[in-house]
Amino acid sequence: MKLTQMKPFYPKPNTISILLFISLLQITSSLDLIIDASLSSANGNLYLNLQSAINALLTDSSLKTTTNTITLLPNCVGKTQTLSKSTTIQGAGVESLTIQYQSPPLSVNDLSVCNELPLLSLTNNFYLYLNNFAAFSLVGLSIRYRWNNGNNYFWADYIQTPISQVFALT
């Protein structure tokens, strides 16, 4: 086919609007999930535990949306969150992920305060691996490594602005 025979594509105004709307949706899309330990089953954006909330953010291991927030309610305190498998969360360099406690104290300067935070225990040889985000925030969580079985690690590659505050690492 000769180039001169090609007709240039001029989208109609309606098509432009639709395309703009779709790309805007992609840019600003967000998921805001809540972990409520009192639930007996997941309901809407409410989930029973961290693993199920993380799973809901993902298609395979990739984040579905740009802005991702998981909030743990105060009824999660005293109930240990664990991973049921090694978990990879893959971004494309533009996403953010926040895992936060709804009612964090101002600071954690004592081991006793750890008991007032939701606990994530990395155990059973399962790891949490994050790759290629614009931002990652961890607020108001207590994270415990358990040596017993080996590869219980947290690994963050290519996260531009990781922020961890009001948290405990024990």
Partner: protein, 315 residues
Amino acid sequence: MTDTIATMPSQHNYFYFYTPTSLSISNAFISSDGSKPIWIDYATDITIASVTISLENWLPDSSKAVVDIYCDSYYLTTIATSNIQIICDSSPMAMSQVFSSKKLYAAYHSNITVSNCDFNKQSSSSQYFIISTNPHVSVFDNITFDNVTFGSYSSQILIEVTGNPTMSVSTISNINIVCSAQKMVMQKAIDSNTLLDVYYANITVTNCDFSNFSALSSPTFIYASSPTTSAIDNVTFNNVTAGNDTSQTLIWATGSYSKSVSNISNIQITCSSLPMAMPWAIYTFEQWVCIFSNQSKNQSQRPYRFIIRGLRKLL
């Protein structure tokens, strides 16, 4: 709370960040036994502020720091730590490594308090409580060690900076060391090695009893080795007891004949009333120019000695 394990596992756990642009850790509590470092590679800006670090059952064979910042080659990393409180288990443990940084642009450590730590246990590896290796710039300011026992084993150093003689500049200021009541072997507390410029200022050492027998060679408390220029200003030793090892030196400043300039001023030494051998107060070696001023000692105490070797010019 940390799991109790006796030796460093072959594959340890970690909290790992690779190539973050801006990493911040604040208002946090970190408990560590040496097997679970926060490990940061090739970062640009690292801020660690208002953090309590609890050292528990530190593994004697751990070579990892609580916060370990590492680059294989030079990287434009800046780390700033401030308002850090470090507490320890009540039982003796090997000296922990808390902050370790290698091959970065700048390390700023300020407002750090270390209290009630007994590092009277042997380690199989060199232990530097805070170490910066090959930085362009390093600043250690307002760091207090209160009721701390250390130095019974070789290579237990509180502050260590090792650099490059063509570019590394370091300031070590407002350091307050209060020893515990235990007798200790004199060992380097503050050590700088092969820097371009180093500046020590406002260092106070109180209640240190170095009268345990030392088999270490050239035991020295404050050490500045081979910088091009060094200034050691306003250093006070209060109520110190030296041991029977007459090679003990409170301040040691060496240079290299052709270029080193050392300015040592306002050194005050008050010994305890215990009998002791005479230590070297200040030992300088291979300086091109050395300036001494305002040295004093409490008169009722033992005499102390200066040695100046290989000096080309004394002002």
